[in-house]
């Protein structure tokens, strides 16, 4: 995965470099706010950062971020091509090489009641994508039945580690189970693609369709790549759920994720209620950040009459 410090202007990059050296994989988020101190989330705790990269509990002595720093960092993040992210910016965030998600705030630009962009941008939140190889190893046996991978949905609140787990599951399905996997990676968060080539390890038999809307992408992959498994991150829209049903009926296995705190909460969400009450997914993995991202709260299998029972 590319070096995260390359995304920031020099003073911030130096501080982050030091944090990466001292805290490595526990660094989850970096927050730049114009006129405010640099803040990070390390191991679930929010801290301020000194110019030398020391973590502070109070803003005193912290590195002050100004507007120029934000603009300069945006220039590095977008590789001087902010115009290329306009469609993504309508959602308030962009995803950059390596799969890191950059949320933005500032003055929104609206046209016909819809947000079309943000200008000026006054704050950034960089959510760091983690690639932890082997993090789904222990999970895999629960997702198989007689050596066959089951339709699986990974559920967690934001920052619960579902994309990291999904990424490793894709790699395992490809390399360990020798399945042809196709990934519909709408926002480059799974593969962290650069020039269409995944920067994260997704396995030798994995094809990635980068930047395409999930629903369209899943159906396109089904038609064109003859996959045995299709993976997609953060299902939510009605079109995506319809695409899931189509893929299921085509005899292709699914690896997907969705936002939710619990299975019960997800079952109440419009769209998912039908999907889950009909027992479409054969396995559901519920994660949380209770003991750090990726904490497995429960693994459910489809029981009789489509009801889910904990394994």
């Amino acid at each position: 995965m590319p070096d995260i410090t390359r995304l920031f202007c020099l003073p911030v990059a130096e501080a982050i470099h030091q944090i990466m050296r001292n805290h490595g994989n526990t660094l989850q988020e970096i927050r730049l706010r114009a006129g405010k101190p640099l803040a990070v989330s390390v191991g679930g705790s929010n801290r301020f950062v000194s110019p030398k990269g020391e973590l502070l509990t109070t803003p005193r002595g912290a590195l002050r971020v100004d507007w120029d720093m934000i603009l300069k960092s945006l220039e590095f993040m977008s590789r001087s091509s902010m115009y290329a992210f306009e469609n993504e910016m309508r959602n308030g965030y962009i995803t950059v090489e390596g799969g890191h998600r950059i949320g933005m705030v500032g003055r929104s630009i609206c046209q016909n009641g819809q947000m079309t962009g943000i200008n000026p941008i006054a704050g950034l939140n960089v959510r760091i994508a983690h690639e932890i190889r082997g993090c789904a190893e222990k999970l895999l046996p629960y997702l198989e039945e007689e050596g066959v991978l089951q339709h699986t949905l990974i559920v967690s609140p934001p920052g619960g580690g579902k994309t990291t787990i999904l990424r490793d599951l894709i790699r395992l399905a490809s390399d360990r189970l020798h399945l042809a996997v196709a990934v519909a990676d709408e926002r480059s968060e799974i593969g962290g693609c650069y020039r269409g080539i995944p920067q994260c390890e997704l396995g030798m038999q994995t094809d990635v369709l980068d930047g395409c809307p999930k629903a369209e992408g899943m159906l396109m992959l089904l038609r064109t790549m003859n996959p045995q498994v299709i993976a997609a991150d953060e299902l939510g829209g009605r079109a995506e759920l319809e695409a899931v049903v189509t893929v299921l009926h085509a005899g292709v296995k699914l690896l997907c994720t969705a936002h939710s705190n619990t299975l019960e909460e997800l079952q109440r969400r419009p769209g998912f209620d039908q999907l889950l009450n009909n027992g479409i997914f054969e396995r559901i993995v519920v994660l949380s950040g209770r003991q750090g991202p990726g904490t497995v709260e429960g693994i459910y299998r489809r029981g009789e009459e489509g009801r889910y029972v904990m394994v």
Partner: protein
């Protein structure tokens, strides 16, 4: 001694003729650079329109043939791929390219302004800016074509005439 005198006269004559041809050649080169630059700007905007990042858009221009602008674009693409800032890369590489190009000061200023403005702008604005610069260079090209048809021949003729005149006087 006579041989030495005639050699000197010929050299001066040839030198004057060359100056005339060189001035005409500069105009031709500048015209060619205007044409290529407009082609580059058109390709750049079409690549940007489909959402290609700047470095890839520049590479595409190089691959499609950018003539005198090729090295400038290639160097910028290389530096952008190392996450350097567009505004500084654009200006620095343009400064380096000046020795190879034959444009006027105002042309460079226009290009520098474009480089500064492209950074952080929305696609619509970027394309609008490029279009304005294209219009400017199109007008420059027209004026230069006019000038070449009048001055190009004049420079060559004056060079040759001056050479003959000097040779006659010195002989």
């Amino acid at each position: 001694m006579l041989w030495f005198k005639w050699t000197g006269i010929l050299l001066i004559g040839a030198g004057l003729a060359c100056i005339g041809f060189w001035l005409a050649y500069r105009l031709d080169r500048r015209l060619e650079e205007y044409r290529q630059l407009q082609k580059v700007l058109m390709m750049l905007s079409s690549r940007m329109r489909i959402g290609e990042p700047m470095e890839l858009a520049m590479e595409s221009c190089v691959m499609a043939g950018a003539g005198a602008w090729e090295r400038w674009l290639r160097h910028m693409a290389e530096r952008l791929s190392k996450r350097e800032a567009l505004s500084s890369v654009w200006r620095e590489e343009l400064d380096k390219a000046k020795s190879e190009l034959h444009l006027e000061k105002e042309d460079y200023r226009m290009l520098e302004t474009l480089g500064n403005s492209l950074q952080g702008a929305r696609l619509e604005n970027c394309l609008g800016l490029i279009s304005q610069v294209q219009d400017y260079f199109h007008a420059q090209q027209r004026m230069l074509e006019q000038a070449i048809s009048e001055q190009g021949r004049m420079y060559r003729s004056i060079g040759v005439l001056a050479a003959i005149l000097v040779m006659v006087v010195l002989a």
